[in-house]
Subunit: 421 residues, 2 copies
């Protein structure tokens, strides 16, 4: 048995690893003067970030395994290695305009916990694994939670391998290029439990002056790639009534998404975003003949999500009729809402309470690797607040050393309980 001494991490050490990893893929955002991070999945920068984290794992004496989809698992032996491990994980890939906390806190927080255990000479009953998963963001290959989706069997390996980016580069080739095409079976043996500490990426905790979010679950996510086909023609000569302007139709769709939310029909938590808009040919004096857009819908309520999806398809028909365009779409990602394990959530809440931290229950707006593990084992997440309305996917993304350490210490406490079962 462990001593009753409460274990905590070294706040400054954790923060310095976040800063060091954040140097990799960094760029200067010229408009704001801020340092941003761009470690898009399986680019050279992601490869460099991966090697940095693997080096830390090895320095900590962990046994590192890379699987066939590039997920990396670092294992610390327990007192009984026949038992299933407790896993802590997240991702280190980023969107192209990121800060240095998204994903990294969960991975480096897990490593800092291991570092603290090593320092104190503590060996847990169960083994402990710290993992990072390939292409959680989905920005490059259009499907998020790709690595963890393969790990839990939701996404077939061959489907993942065949994915291509905008330049037609194939995921398997890119994985090989960065040196992370491993040989371990990607189907993970269900761990005893899975924990993930993550920044909230939203304004709620900070606005409510909370230290910790006990994450109830993850809302449903639906991504579409929508192609609006019109007719390209000369912008100076073609009378307005003869135009089929795919860009105008796409603009209507963008504003319709706002109207759907304003209608209140889909609940107050619905989110809808058109992040990608690409008119073809995209030139000043040519009426766009085609416009490729993306639609991102989120809703914590699965029924309301399905209603919004159905209604959106009806709107496509309406737009086709009104504007003369032809609309085709494909689903690029789709997950139902996921609720985390009630018992583990209670432990997170108890740990926060015991540490004198202010906490609240919260629904995650973003998708996370944890939602994949929820399908195979007891899983829960710890959120920490972010400054500036919790802005994320932006160089301004920022959580203080205190905020980060609070979240990792809560995860540490819960880990110690689970690892002794």
């Amino acid at each position: 048995m462990l001593s009753k001494e409460k274990l905590t991490i070294n706040k400054d050490r954790l923060y310095s690893t976040l800063e060091e990893l954040g140097q990799i893929g960094r760029y200067l955002d010229e408009r704001t003067g801020l340092q941003g991070v761009n470690r898009l999945a399986l680019t050279a920068a992601d490869g460099e970030g991966r090697r940095r984290v693997v080096a830390w794992m090895k320095e900590l004496g962990l046994a590192v395994t890379v699987d066939k989809i590039g997920n990396v698992y670092a294992r610390r032996d327990g007192r009984d290695n026949a038992l299933d491990p407790v896993m802590m994980g997240s991702h280190i890939d980023s969107v192209p305009t990121a800060g240095r906390f998204d994903g990294c806190l969960g991975v480096l927080g897990g490593l800092e916990i291991v570092r603290s255990l090593n320092e104190k000479g503590v060996t847990t009953k169960r083994p402990v694994v710290v993992a990072f998963f390939t292409d959680e963001e989905g920005c490059r290959f259009s499907t998020d939670m790709l690595g963890s989706g393969v790990a839990v069997g939701r996404i077939p390996l061959e489907d993942a391998y065949a994915k291509t980016d905008r330049d037609g580069l194939v995921l398997r080739d890119e994985l090989e290029k960065v040196g992370f095409l491993g040989d371990a079976d990607p189907l993970v043996k269900p761990p005893h439990a899975y924990l993930e500490c993550h920044i909230e990426q939203g304004p709620i905790l900070r606005a409510n002056d909370m230290d910790i979010g006990v994450v109830e679950g993850v809302q449903a996510i639906s991504w579409q790639a929508v192609s609006v086909q019109g007719k390209s023609c000369h912008a100076g000569t073609t009378p307005m009534n003869l135009r089929i302007d795919a860009g105008v139709a796409a603009s209507k769709l963008n504003l319709h998404l706002r109207e759907m939310i304003a209608s209140g029909q889909y609940g107050e938590h619905m989110r809808a975003t058109m992040g990608g808009i690409t008119p073809v040919p995209g030139l000043v004096n040519i009426v766009p003949g085609r416009c490729e857009v993306t639609v991102d819908l989120r809703n914590p309520d699965d029924e309301l999500m399905r209603k919004s999806e159905r209604d959106l398809l009806k709107y496509y028909e309406q737009l086709e009729a009104e504007d003369g365009v032809k609309i085709t779409w494909r689903q690029t990602a789709r997950t139902d809402s996921v609720m985390f394990d009630p018992g583990v959530k209670d432990r997170i809440q108890a740990a926060a309470q015991a540490a004198g931290l202010k906490f609240q229950r919260i629904i995650s707006g973003a998708g996370h690797d944890a939602q994949e593990f929820a399908s195979i084992c007891r899983t829960a997440m710890v959120f920490v607040p972010g400054e500036y309305d919790g802005i994320s996917h932006n160089p301004r993304e920022f959580s203080t050393d205190e905020q980060c350490a609070n979240g990792v210490n809560v995860m540490f406490e819960v880990l110690m309980g689970l690892a002794e079962e």
Copy 2:
């Protein structure tokens, strides 16, 4: 003096040169199965097209001059070479999604007239020049009528040289790369008159069953590059009321352009187009923090054009107030309406009438090199109809051999009159 025999061109020969030039830069439009043409200014394909046309000029015994902005002039001696020449010109660069008629008809029509003069052994009193001008389309370097604008002194050579494309490539370097950085003074000595035969690029002549358009003038053109600055953030987590979505604001602007037209306040001939829309970063799960768009306004009425420009700026302020975005813009092209020479227009009408062709007066919706020459000499244009609603800037662009020959023959007749003055 010339004999009274009416000179005409060889229809098939003209059409075969249009087809041959149209092979250069051609591509297969996968959605329609049509052959398109992409000879964007100063690309390798444009260079190849230029060399093809220069070779034809030399085969016809013309003296070829290339000036410092890459404009090419091919001169045929007259009986009195001290007299200013009559010039026929247009362009052979294209938008990236073009057919094979836009611009090329004027240049190859001019060369076919020379070919016919050679064949008949006719020497005009004044010299005759056939010219093509650099980057008429403006698609690549953001300013249209660039070469002819430099030729007539509207655009300083150094300003033209400094222009860059999307990839930051500098115009002067690109001119050198394709081998058309000539050494002749780009400021052209005003010719006796300037003629240009062009496809209408609109539906009017075809709808009215006309053979010839006697072009009254060119409408005013105003191009803006507009930058809408919002705040990038996470699409899944950021509450709708905290978003400053630059893509949504750009969509509102696009629909506002339609509303401006529908209001009727700017006359029935106003055209407005948002051809370029580039959200940044442009990814599915990130609310666009910035959106770069283009605005193309056209109006034959200068007063109404100015009113639309003023009102658009007011709308930018309204959008800033409503959406919290910040809008900056710069003018990338601006020309007032240009009226062509009444005398030359009457000659075009008379030539059409004499040939038994149906004609009408028409305003040009597109900008043309002729509008530049109108500032330095007597200038007019001949339009020919196009099939499929006169669609242009599209692989479907199509005029028949008959339609093309009619226009060139009318230009031929007017040329012969002007060249004997």
